[in-house]
Symmetry: C2
């Protein structure tokens, strides 16, 4: 693989911008296009948005026009968590023979909630000879990929427990808002009922682990509850008073007759003690894998997208999961 | 993959026997042959050697005859650490179209010390349409595979440090002997000079990590020194007196102009405190991955062989490394 992978980044929010930065840094990738719908960004050099020197890549707003003009090898999509908003676009791009990598959380295991969309994307990818992959840190690495490969050294696995604890006080304001920091319990519950709070993708992670390990299960469920601050917590962006919502606890469970086979327990709240990622396997041998401090979310999601580019380029066509490709790795 | 993988296990030492046991347990594998050169084992049912009921698989001594008679899909080879002793055999089996999985440590990265043998095995595998893979826990997982995939979430990696600490007091007698427990320093040095002590494969692990991460290096070296017991240590198998050798410390280093890019630090001695596997990445972000207690060696090596069978069956032909296939996982 000596040719550089001609890469288009679509969606220049925090993750897309970091992805574009890393694509510029990597010898193996060539950033050929950057696309965003925000008129504020149009016509500006991507280097300017990244506080870098000019790169010659100007932000444009029509990804399909860019694709036709530039014929990239790979499109990295960082626009949304939800598959229905992007599945037509992914189909079109894959059918044109361009690989697609995306941080869209539902793309981790798209047939779980959108089997018809998954079927169509897979067919388009086969037709175009392209590979489509959803990945990221969570979902995509800490609670699913790592949990599954940890079992590679096991004779038998009875159950899997994954724990991710994020201290939202150390994260950017949009994440603090996403977890509801500073809301009252009532505000939290109203937003949660509306589906406007909580982490997307935990259901997909849970199902991916249960399926990959062939752990019998009859149900995959997900719960969301607020974590209430026990004392005032100040962050660089906001302050949460005791009694207000500090953030969320999301639990995904795959159960058989009510007994959990896979439990993924995600806490993201300001002031969370002992941030970490942890996989606990019950089986023979029992094993645990720990990432003290936890893998940082945004930076690492951009990194894993870029670090998966070669694997996607080398893969056979179709809609894949992270478990079907060789593992991502960081190269120059 | 609904068909069972017809599997032959060759070499019925501790790892081969455990591998045969797991092949019998797994729904996805069918144990069709068990081979060992030891006349004590010939003609006995493999179930008897495993303290199980009769299985109908009788231990035989001619692996090629077994292969011709039974036409397995996969041969799992657990006879030696050293490639020159088995490369003719691997070539013949691969050329016959049978996949080969082996715990032979040098097969992790065979072209490092034996480029001509690696070239011949690869050619035979292509000719026969077979896949050949060397794997295990160490080498194959804790200090190399895990180190590389841990970087999947990194923007940049400057150096990698892997640490494995094994308390040999908790392991079987052959391992205690292999690390020199109970020897005098003089005896240790005489055996070490003869190449009869120390872990095989650390050089391969070190080079695999450096290559996979494209960390520039001009040298890969390996050192071996005894760990001297500071006080008496009793194990179920032997007692080491203070001042005697408790075991080994092996360090593999990939350096550029003397600066280490990859350091793999393996200690195996009786009474070793804080047994663990640990990967420490310097870069952006810095990260560490910890397996408290460490992955147990023999059981887990048998497990990862069996857990790699599907990946090998699905792979394209040729001589592969563990980084070129989807990760192993434990399934029923």
């Amino acid at each position: 693989m000596t040719e550089r992978i001609r890469t288009m980044v679509v969606g220049l929010g925090p993750i897309g911008l970091e992805t574009a930065r890393m694509a510029l840094e990597r010898q193996g990738l060539e950033l050929v296009a950057a696309v965003d719908l925000d008129p504020e960004k149009h016509g500006r050099d991507i280097g300017e948005l990244l506080s870098l020197d000019a790169t010659g890549v100007t932000v444009e707003d029509d990804s399909i026009a860019a694709l036709r003009r530039l014929d990239p090898d790979l499109a990295i999509l960082c626009t949304t968590s939800f598959l229905p908003r992007v599945s037509d676009w992914i189909e079109e791009v894959a059918r044109a023979g361009v690989d697609v990598l995306s941080s869209a959380e539902e793309l981790l295991l798209p047939d779980l909630q959108h089997p018809e969309l998954a079927r169509r994307i897979h067919a388009a990818a086969l037709e175009g000879g392209a590979t489509v992959l959803g990945t990221g840190v969570n979902p995509g690495f800490v609670l699913d990929f790592l949990a599954v490969l940890a079992t590679g050294v096991c004779r038998r696995v009875e159950s899997v427990r994954g724990v991710r604890v994020v201290d939202a006080a150390r994260r950017r304001l949009p994440l603090q808002r996403k977890v509801g920091a500073g809301l009252s319990r009532e505000e939290f519950e109203a937003l949660a009922a509306d589906g406007r709070l909580g982490h997307v993708g935990l259901r997909e992670s849970t199902a991916l682990v249960a399926r990959a390990l062939e752990l019998p299960h009859d149900e995959v469920t997900q719960s969301l509850e607020p974590v209430i601050a026990e004392r005032d917590v100040a962050t660089p962006h906001l302050t949460v008073a005791a009694g207000q919502v500090a953030g969320i606890r999301n639990i995904g469970v795959a159960t058989l007759a009510g007994i959990p086979a896979v439990t993924l327990d995600l806490s993201m709240y300001v002031g969370a003690p002992d941030p970490r990622d942890e996989i606990l396997l019950e089986g023979d041998p029992p094993l645990s894998f720990l990432v003290p401090g936890g893998v940082p979310g945004d930076l690492a999601t951009a990194a894993i997208l870029v670090n998966s580019a070669r694997q996607v380029a080398a893969a056979s066509p179709g809609l894949k999961t992270v478990l079907e490709l060789p593992p991502p790795r960081c190269v120059r």
